[in-house]
């Protein structure tokens, strides 16, 4: 990791520092992460990022389940990006099975889910960013508006978080066309709100003072460590899978990739704020187009896939998501490798952003990369009377289920 690259002066300074552990449990985080901060007074000399507190071994679990069961497992990797995980997995399985094209309606439904998910993920991020800075009202506004996006997802899938929409070869449910006018109305409202948020991020004095020039991530470092998604785009790198390696029908729609040159916290927030408008535009185009497409939702998919290999790369709200799978002639994958965007963004970019910054700015700098820890740890129970610790394993959970 970059924090440990030979830097004698910094290493010597670190020895004379105060070492402050932040996390794994900390009010600043929604999930578990440990950052060991080396402080000289109030200035951060260096940080050591420790991940893995939420590891669940999902890659191994996928080898035990069949291709259909794994859709729902992939969906549970991340609560916010559940749609992109299940769709990247599904596309990877389709590539392994050699399914050339899925129906156009299925492609559009997948895109609608993905873009709605991007909207709600970005709105969630604005709330967290506002909260870290002290703009609690912004937090409440954005999370209120996020409800509208979740309502739209519920209209389509019947669920607000895990949508279970894709299936190898297409989608499981049709989009209720009678809901389209209501969805378009909600998109108009969201566009108006996004304009307001973009104005706040651009001109609010408090926000500017707490974000401009903070947590600089140089373009060279982004390219050197292959940092992805909005974090890379905020440093001026044109990295968006939807444009670079188009999938579904992204290449047939009119939208543009957002980049910023600020490299700081505000640039990262602005990338997401401006991306909201692009997502809304994509959604309008998809909703307009879907009514003209044939009603076919999926093509035939074999339950058993002959030995093969497949890769799917998609743009999650936080950046590039990679699934690399192998089949072995059965109904279960031989190996499913998942590379999430946060796996490269968190450990590589945080040390670079936090060096020589003030401790008080740490929460917003960390929040600005929108960290997501999509690998979860096992659970341990502690008996408060005896002090005895007990691990919760699969057998225990099965027993609970059967009670």
């Amino acid at each position: 990791m970059p924090e440990k690259r030979p830097d004698k002066t910094r290493e010597e300074r670190k020895k004379a520092c105060y070492h402050v552990p932040i996390g794994p449990q900390h009010p600043m985080y929604v999930e578990s992460e440990n950052i060991m901060v080396h402080l000289d007074g109030e200035t951060i000399v260096d940080v050591d990022v420790n991940i893995g507190y939420m590891h669940r071994g999902i890659e191994e679990l996928m080898q035990r389940r069949n291709y259909i069961q794994n859709i729902f497992l992939a969906e549970r990797i991340c609560g916010i990006c559940s749609g992109i995980h299940s769709m990247t997995y599904t596309q990877c399985v389709e590539n392994m099975a050699g399914i050339g094209e899925i129906p156009e309606r299925a492609k559009l439904i997948r895109m609608i889910i993905l873009e709605l998910e991007r909207l709600h993920s970005h709105l969630l991020f604005f709330g967290v960013a506002g909260y870290e800075i002290g703009l609690d009202t912004l937090f409440m506004y954005t999370w209120r508006d996020r409800e509208h996006v979740l309502d739209m997802l519920e209209m389509i899938s019947g669920n607000r978080i895990n949508y279970a929409m894709p299936t190898p070869g297409g989608v499981r449910r049709n989009l209720p066309e009678e809901k389209i006018p209501e969805m378009l109305k909600k998109l108009d409202y969201l566009e108006k709100q996004c304009r307001y948020y973009a104005k706040v991020f651009q001109h609010d004095k408090l926000f500017s003072e707490r974000s401009v020039g903070l947590g600089i991530l140089k373009r060279d470092d982004v390219q050197r460590f292959h940092i992805v998604g909005p974090v890379a785009r905020a440093s001026g790198v044109r990295d968006d899978v939807r444009k670079n390696i188009p999938y579904l029908v992204y290449d047939e729609l009119d939208w543009s990739m957002i980049t910023q040159t600020g490299k700081d916290v505000r640039a990262r927030v602005m990338v997401k704020a401006l991306e909201m408008f692009q997502s809304i535009s994509i959604l309008r185009q998809c909703l307009k187009r879907i009514v003209k497409t044939p009603k076919e939702l999926k093509v035939r998919f074999p339950l058993v896939i002959p030995p093969s290999e497949g890769i799917a790369v998609m743009e999650a709200p936080r950046g590039e998501l990679v699934y690399h799978g192998r089949s072995n002639g059965t109904d279960r994958p031989e190996r499913m490798r998942i590379r999430t965007p946060s796996f490269v963004n968190i450990p590589y970019s945080l040390p670079l952003m936090l060096r020589d910054q003030q401790l008080a700015d740490l929460p917003i700098i960390v929040a600005s990369i929108d960290p997501c820890f999509s690998c979860c740890d096992r659970v341990t129970l502690l008996d408060t009377r005896t002090g005895e610790k007990k691990k919760v394993d699969e057998t225990f959970l099965r027993r609970l289920r059967d009670v």
């Binding site: 990791m1 970059p2 440990k4 690259r5 991940i51 893995g52 590891h55 071994g57 890659e59 191994e60 080898q63 035990r64 590539n95 050699g98 050339g100 050197r224 460590f225 292959h226 940092i227 670079n244 390696i245 188009p246 093969s308 290999e309 497949g310 890769i311 790369v313 590039e320 990679v322 690399h324 192998r326 031989e334 190996r335 490798r337 590379r339 796996f343 490269v344 450990p347 590589y348 690998c375 394993d393 699969e394 057998t395």
Partner: protein, 138 residues
């Protein structure tokens, strides 16, 4: 658009849409990675796999609207392969993940230790034997 230099890196064993899978002999992998680096390909992933006879390490890249994977096989007796961190510093974490899940050694990786697993996690859980034992237990 298929770039000719990609297919020249080794033997193409599978191709699907814009994805090319290339088999590269163990001795030539660093040279192939160097070529990818020289051409500005972006390293997306390093993945390990136990095929029962030997271990495989796959390096996935994206370049010019294409995805390509360089796969190389390494012996089970001495599972090690030179680290790609000199060419791609971002490979460090992914190599560490291969190291902890399959026990593949990457000489040259400056911080080769567990990244996601802790002391209580079973060692090399993605090796076939360990995975099979774990399944039988549960």
């Amino acid at each position: 658009m298929t770039e000719r230099w990609i297919t020249g890196l080794g033997k193409v064993y599978h191709k699907w849409k814009n994805t090319i899978f290339i088999d590269v002999p163990r001795k030539e992998i660093i040279k192939a990675l160097g070529k990818a680096n020289e051409k500005g390909a972006i390293l997306n992933d390093v993945a390990g796999y136990d095929n029962g006879k030997e271990y495989e390490v796959s390096y996935t890249f994206t370049t010019g609207g294409e995805v390509f994977t360089l796969r190389t096989r390494i012996s089970r007796v001495k599972p090690e392969i030179e680290s790609a961190t000199k060419l791609f510093p971002g490979a460090e974490l992914m190599e560490r993940e291969c190291f902890e899940s399959l026990g593949i050694d990457f000489p040259g990786n400056p911080f080769l230790k567990n990244v996601l697993h802790d002391k209580t996690t079973p060692k090399t859980p993605l090796r076939r034997k360990e995975a099979k034992d774990a399944r039988e237990k549960t």
